[in-house]
Every structure is written in structure tokens, then in C-alpha cells.
């Protein structure tokens, strides 16, 4: 068991969770005082000792499901049902036989309607064990799993869920439950149905994972289903669900960053020596200046100008950066934001008087006037426009942030504009959401701009973004 724990800790570390030696020891100690047969207790105990951040729990649960797969418990489950406790007699008795016999790869004796019916009833009655049986049957029927194929569960999950027609199932559940026709009870019924469907999805996912573990073993599978932590997700290639996850992670992240920066600013108290005050203090020690006094620091708050590419490929990255910078805008003396595709528009006003930057960012997407011609990014033209109208506002106190992948669609680069900005500004930074290895491939012309930037930073994840923005003040 200790070996399993060591492997499990290794997997958590590989997924990016910081598990220390002493936490590992605590986990081992916890395992000695709990009932190891109780899977739920094992999971909670390991979570309490190994995971110290609520945002890391989903990653932990995924890894746990793989490493401590639910074989014993599920077989027990089936046994109970066969003793005749099942409310849906025939289908229930057939279900477990199916899920077990199917390990050898037999074809399904359940018809599609029977299966749909079984699922519906399990969902309606909120019967958890019936639900996991139905999920297993559904996986056996629809996932089309092939032993030894080195894919993660997502592909099978997608196949299974598509065949189950969840939308129809949800509608049916909603109709069943909606007692009145007023909006409130409709809404409640819908939310209830939705949460049950979510429950089903999880059950299906679990069922798939169990089968995969059987097929390939825990360690190999853990690697392929490993989910990155939200702050390590690649912003550019995030799918819709991951984007929502990022969105959720961003708010506390920016709040924490703001707290940290404000605290740092307050604590940094060394201004220049205040001679007057020091001499006055020295009177009490006979004129010997024992106790140096300092002037309060004059915080040199930088001005920030953001020029962000918001064309399709990098839009979400620009959104996150704008959100983050404006969330900590109190740390800067001024923040001005510009967005472009092939035209350029100032969007600073959108953030005025809005307490949640997310709202402003949403408005930018809808309203900003950024397309002048064909809607393909044209960095050269955007920089020219910016230079023409706003270059005079860029001073020695200004830090210019350019966000984009530098994919110029073979337009002219006009790097000389960036060179001029660099002369005027304190610093020019370029944040590129693409991995370094992709730079300058295809139509990426980042190298033409790079000589005129203080730094070109690869910024693919929230963690990198936070580190960079935190370093700005």
C-alpha cells in the first residue's frame, strides 16, 4: 500500500501539485488510522494531507480515480442488486451481467430503448447505484473501446455521450418534474435536471476510467488523463470548458495579485534619508545620528499602455491580460488599452467606472471597432495608426505592452514604428502566447520586432502571465 501511495504522490507531483515530503508522511500516517476498505474515507484523508489548495482538488480527484479504481466496490454493488433489491427488475439484473461479461468483449444484449429507459429511471429516482450500472452499460454499448489503444478517456466519453442524446434526456426530465408552468418552477426543474445529467456524465466518465485502468494499468493511464492545473492551461489552445475554468481562476488570481502588490508597496519604506528628521531625532542621543530616518518612498507608479491583438487566434489571451492588468490598475498611475485586428481602437473608457473588468472585456468584444479591412491581423498597420494618433502620449514613464503572436498575415511589419516607441517609452515588452519554438515559423514575424523590445516573453499560461504582470510595478 505504501508503494501505491508513493506512486500516487509521484503522479500528483508530475501533474504539478506541490507535495512535500512531510505531507507524504502525513498521508502514510493517515492511512494507518482509517479503514482502508472505505474508498471515500481514503480519498478524503489523502486529499486532506496531500492537497493544500481548493483549486487543485479536481486534479487530485482525477488522479485518485485512476490509482484507486473502484473495482471492489462496483462488484459489491452488482452483487447487492442481484439479490433482488433492484427497483427495475429485469433491466437491473441484466445490467450487471452485461458490465461484467463485457470484459471479454461480447455484444450488448440491451436494446437502445431499454438502455435509455434504464438511464431515465435511474436519473429520475436519483438512484446512484442504478445510475452507475446504467453508465457502465452505456459505455459498453457505445464507447467502442479497443484494448491497448493509447488514448485518454475523452474520446470515449465524447462517443458515449453523443449516443445518449443528453439533450433529449434533459428535456424529458424537465417535463417530468415541472409541476407548474410559471417561470420559477420551470427554471428549478431545469436546473435540477441539469445537475442530474452532470451526475450522469461523471458516472460515465468514471465507468470509462475503470475500464481503461483494467486495460492499461494505473500509471500509464494517469499520464494520459492527467489534467493540468488551471494556472498551467495553455490559454491559446484551451477548449470552451477550459476557458470557463480559466475565467473562474482569473478572478481570485487577480485579487490575490493586487493584495500582494499593495502590501509590497506599503512595506517598501526606504525612501532617501530624511536629513531634517534624522538630525532632530539625533538630539536625544547628543547629536549623534544613531537612528536614521527615511523619507516616505515616492512610489514610481508606471503608466501602462497595452496594445492587444484581438483577432481570433489570440483573442482569449488578450482578454485575460486586459482583465488582469485592469484588475490591478490601482498599482499603476494610468492604464490605457488599445485593441486591434487590422484597425485600432482605444478601449480604456470601457473600464471606467466598472468594478468588474470581466464586464468591460465582454463589452470590448462586442463593441470595439477593430476591423478596417479584411479582418486579418495586420500588426504594421495597427502600429502605424497607433503612432499617428497616440505616440505623443508615450513618455519616459510609459511601459508599452504589446500582446500578440506576431502572425502578420504577410503584411508589412513596420518594425520602425516599434523602434520609435522604444525610444519614447521606458520599456517595450512583447507578450507572445505561442510557445517559443513556433516563433518565426510561417507568417510569424516576431523576430523583426524583437530587437526593439526590452523583452519578448512567452506567456502561455496564467501562471506566466501573473508572474510577468506582478513584475511590472
Amino acid at each position: 500500500m505504501l508503494n501505491v501511495l508513493a506512486d500516487f504522490v509521484g503522479e500528483l507531483r508530475a501533474a504539478g501539485l506541490p507535495v512535500s515530503m512531510s505531507e507524504h508522511i502525513d498521508a502514510a500516517r493517515a492511512m494507518r488510522v482509517i479503514d482502508l476498505g472505505d474508498r471515500r474515507a481514503l480519498r478524503d484523508s489523502l486529499a486532506a494531507t496531500l492537497v493544500k489548495d481548493g483549486d487543485h482538488l479536481p486534479v487530485f480527484y482525477t488522479a485518485f480515480d485512476v490509482f484507486f479504481a473502484d473495482r471492489g466496490a462496483s462488484l459489491q454493488d452488482d452483487g447487492v442488486t442481484q439479490d433482488g433489491e433492484s427497483p427495475d427488475g429485469a433491466a437491473g439484473a441484466e445490467g450487471p451481467g452485461q458490465s461484467r461479461g463485457d470484459g471479454g468483449g461480447g455484444s450488448s444484449p440491451l436494446s437502445a430503448e431499454q438502455l435509455a429507459d434504464m438511464l431515465f429511471r435511474a436519473l429520475r429516482d436519483g438512484d446512484q447505484s442504478a445510475l452507475s450500472r446504467a453508465a457502465r452499460a452505456a459505455v459498453a454499448r457505445y464507447a467502442g473501446m479497443e484494448p491497448g489503444r493509447p488514448v485518454g478517456g475523452t474520446y470515449y466519453l465524447y462517443r458515449t455521450l453523443r449516443s445518449l442524446e443528453l439533450d433529449r434526456l434533459e428535456a424529458r426530465l424537465t417535463d417530468e418534474r415541472a409541476p407548474g408552468d410559471d417561470q420559477l418552477s420551470q427554471r428549478l426543474a431545469r436546473d435540477e435536471a441539469r445537475s442530474r445529467i452532470e451526475n450522469l456524465k461523471r458516472a460515465v466518465e468514471r465507468a470509462i476510467r475503470e475500464r481503461l485502468v483494467e486495460d492499461r494499468g494505473s500509471a500509464a493511464l494517469a499520464k494520459s488523463v492527467r489534467k493540468p492545473l488551471p494556472e498551467d492551461l495553455d490559454v491559446m489552445h484551451a477548449n470552451r470548458e477550459e476557458l470557463a475554468q480559466l475565467e473562474r481562476a482569473l478572478r481570485p488570481l487577480s485579487r490575490k495579485l493586487a493584495t500582494r502588490l499593495a502590501r509590497r508597496r506599503r512595506r517598501r519604506r526606504r525612501g532617501p534619508v530624511d536629513l531634517r528628521h534624522t538630525v532632530r531625532r539625533s538630539l536625544s542621543t547628543g547629536g549623534v545620528p544613531l537612528d536614521l530616518r527615511f523619507k516616505p518612498p515616492r512610489p514610481a507608479k508606471p503608466e501602462i499602455v497595452i496594445i492587444a491583438d484581438v483577432s481570433g487566434s489570440v483573442a482569449s489571451f488578450a482578454r485575460f491580460t486586459l482583465h488582469l492588468v485592469h484588475a490591478i490598475s490601482s498599482q499603476f498611475s494610468k492604464v490605457r488599452s488599445f485593441v486591434f485586428v487590422d484597425g485600432l481602437d482605444e478601449v480604456t473608457d470601457y473600464f471606467d467606472g466598472v468594478d468588474d473588468p470581466a464586464v468591460a472585456v465582454a463589452r470590448i468584444n462586442a463593441e470595439a471597432d477593430v476591423v478596417a479591412f479584411d479582418g486579418h491581423s495586420d500588426y504594421g498597420r495597427a502600429f502605424l495608426t497607433f503612432h499617428e494618433h497616440f505616440a505623443k502620449d508615450v513618455t519616459r514613464r510609459t511601459t508599452v505592452l504589446i500582446l500578440g503572436d506576431g502572425r502578420n498575415n504577410y503584411h508589412q511589419a513596420h518594425a520602425e514604428v516599434v523602434a520609435d516607441l522604444q525610444r519614447r517609452a521606458r520599456n517595450v515588452f512583447w507578450l507572445n502566447p505561442e510557445p517559443t519554438s513556433y516563433w518565426n515559423s510561417g507568417d510569424s514575424v516576431i523576430d523583426q520586432y524583437a530587437p526593439y523590445c526590452a523583452r519578448v516573453v512567452e506567456c502561455r499560461t496564467l501562471r506566466q502571465l501573473e508572474a510577468f504582470v506582478g513584475g511590472l510595478t
Binding site: S22, D191, R260, R263
Partner: protein, 314 residues
């Protein structure tokens, strides 16, 4: 594999004569005893509380506001029949407020009294005298450590103190002792249970997290919330409780500035009981929504999305 169990090890280090009895038999026992104190736990809350006792480790409880983090510490104290010692954290909290402080005035009096009586007391005697525990003002942390009766220590909203002040807690959390330079080390006379709560407004230090067990209390699911309502609002019918839990769940799915917490749910349930409702319709919901939601924009959004019409609440 002959290592001591963590409690024995700690007891030995603290120099306790006998090992204090375990507080809970099992996680199920935790659950049952918390339930008699009207605190409905779930599996993970019970497991972690059980582990906290068996491993003699503090628990760091995190989660959104109003989900029963502080209430858990209170309920555990009641369940094991211990006194709750509470340290409320805030920005600017320091040693003299959290740990101990010398009672200067009393020390000064003692010195003056010695002089007037004309005793010829050497300085070293006097020093020994005025730096004794008689002149020590105990603050919550020291009080919990030096208590002889059973205590549960609650360090509330630990994320509010500065990073530097956090270090004050480390010695207590791992060794259950407090070092006072003039006096020596005060060791715990028992193994107190320690709960720390945090609203996660900032990242706590690794050192602190490593010393604690971690418990995340999120919003409860509909069934548990219904049971909580039933336990805490005795006059309510179970149909109404169910309905309330469902409405609250729907509200939490909206993108609100502040989602309704469990304590607000309970307030709402009590209000509806006082109003004599046994089921909720659209009008009651609108009229009492301000109990659940604390921002005007949230109220407007909820009215629009859930009830499907805009209502002027002026």
C-alpha cells in the same frame, strides 16, 4: 515499522504523563456527534475532523464565506465538551495581541513597592520575580496552550494577517508550544484541537499549509442544504426546505458578485417561516430576495434570469 503513532510521539515530546484519550471513535462517530449539535457534516468534513484528532494536527479550513467554517470549530468544541478559544485575525495583529504581553504596569508597581518597603533586594532576584508568569498577560494562543481543561483553538480568518505574522503561528501549530525568551518554553498540557479558517483572499505560506490538514468546504448540494435547513429551522416543512434549497442552487449557478451563502439561506428560510409561507411563488421570492443577495445588481440579475421579469424594487 515500529514508529510511534503521532499522538504518542507528540505526548512524549510535550512530556505528558499519560496519553489523552482519543476524542472520536471513527468518522461516523464524528458525524453523529456533530449532528446532535445541529451541525450537518459531510463525508470529508467528518473524515478530516477525525484525522485531526488521530494525527494531532491542526486543520486549515478554506471555502467561500458563510459555508460553516467557523461553525464547524464551534460544533466540534461542543461535541467534545471543550472550551472554544478564539483568535480573530486582522491586519496588524501582532505578538502582543495573539500570544502574550508583559503586564508593564504591574511590573512597575512591583518594583516601586519593593523600593518603598526598603527591602534590599538584588536586581537578579527582582528580575526573576517580575518576569514570572504572574506578570504575564495571556492572549488567546498562549491561553489555549497553557489551559488545563480541554480546549479547541480557533484561529479565524488567518488570511487577514500579514505574511510575517503568520510565522508566529508556526511553532504552536507544529510543536504545540510557545517560547517566551524571559520565561522559557511553555508546552501544552494536553493536545488541543486547532482549526484555522481562511477565505482565501491571499495565498497562505507553504510552511503554514504543510503543518495543517486541509479541508475545503464548498457550497453544499441540494440534499445537504435541505437537511441543514431542516436541522436549523425547526418549524419548517420539508417541502419548503427542499424548494428553498433548489432556488438557492439555481441562484448560485448565475454569475453573481456574491453567491448566497448557507447562513443567508438559513436567514431566508426563517423569514419565510415567520411570514407563514409553506411554498414559495414568484412574488415571495422577489419580495424577500434581498435577504439572499446583497448587491442591487445581483438582485436585478436574479429577478430577470430566474423569474423572467424585471421588477422595480425601489
Amino acid at each position: 515499522m515500529t514508529s510511534l503513532d503521532p499522538r504518542q510521539e507528540l505526548a512524549k515530546r510535550l512530556g505528558l504523563e499519560h496519553l489523552p484519550p482519543v476524542r472520536f471513535e471513527s468518522a461516523a462517530d464524528v458525524r453523529a456527534r456533530l449532528a446532535t449539535n445541529d451541525y450537518l457534516s459531510d463525508d470529508s468534513i467528518a473524515s478530516v475532523s477525525f484525522l485531526a484528532d488521530r494525527l494531532a494536527k491542526p486543520v486549515l479550513v478554506e471555502g467561500p464565506a458563510g459555508t460553516g467554517k467557523t461553525a464547524l470549530a464551534k460544533a466540534v468544541a461542543d461535541a467534545v465538551g471543550a472550551r472554544l478559544v478564539r483568535l480573530q485575525c486582522y491586519e496588524g495583529l501582532d505578538e502582543s495581541k495573539a500570544l502574550y504581553e508583559w503586564n508593564y504596569r504591574k511590573q512597575l508597581l512591583r518594583i516601586q513597592a519593593g523600593r518603598s518597603e526598603g527591602e534590599t533586594e538584588s536586581w537578579s532576584e527582582l528580575e526573576e520575580d517580575i518576569f514570572s508568569s504572574e506578570f504575564l498577560l495571556t492572549r488567546p494562543l498562549l491561553e489555549a496552550i497553557s489551559a488545563t481543561d480541554p480546549v479547541v483553538l480557533l484561529i479565524d480568518e488567518v488570511d487577514r494577517v500579514e505574511l510575517e505574522t503568520e510565522a508566529l503561528l508556526l511553532e504552536i501549530l507544529s510543536e504545540y508550544q510557545v517560547s517566551i525568551p524571559e520565561l522559557g518554553t511553555v508546552r501544552a498540557k494536553q493536545i488541543p484541537m486547532v482549526f484555522l479558517t481562511s477565505n482565501n483572499t491571499r495565498e497562505l505560506s507553504e510552511a503554514l499549509k504543510r503543518r495543517c490538514l486541509y479541508l475545503y468546504i464548498g457550497y453544499p448540494d441540494v440534499e445537504r442544504e435541505r437537511d441543514i435547513i431542516l436541522a436549523r429551522v425547526p418549524e419548517i416543512t420539508s417541502a419548503l426546505a427542499e424548494q428553498i434549497a433548489q432556488v438557492v442552487r439555481s441562484l448560485r449557478t448565475l454569475d453573481l458578485k456574491k453567491a448566497p451563502s448557507v447562513s443567508e439561506t438559513l436567514d431566508w428560510a426563517r423569514t419565510l417561516v415567520i411570514l407563514g409561507r409553506d411554498e414559495i411563488g414568484a412574488e415571495e421570492t422577489v419580495a424577500t430576495l434581498h435577504i439572499l443577495l446583497k448587491y442591487q445588481s445581483d438582485i436585478e440579475r436574479a429577478t430577470k434570469e430566474i423569474l423572467g421579469h424585471t421588477v422595480n424594487l425601489a
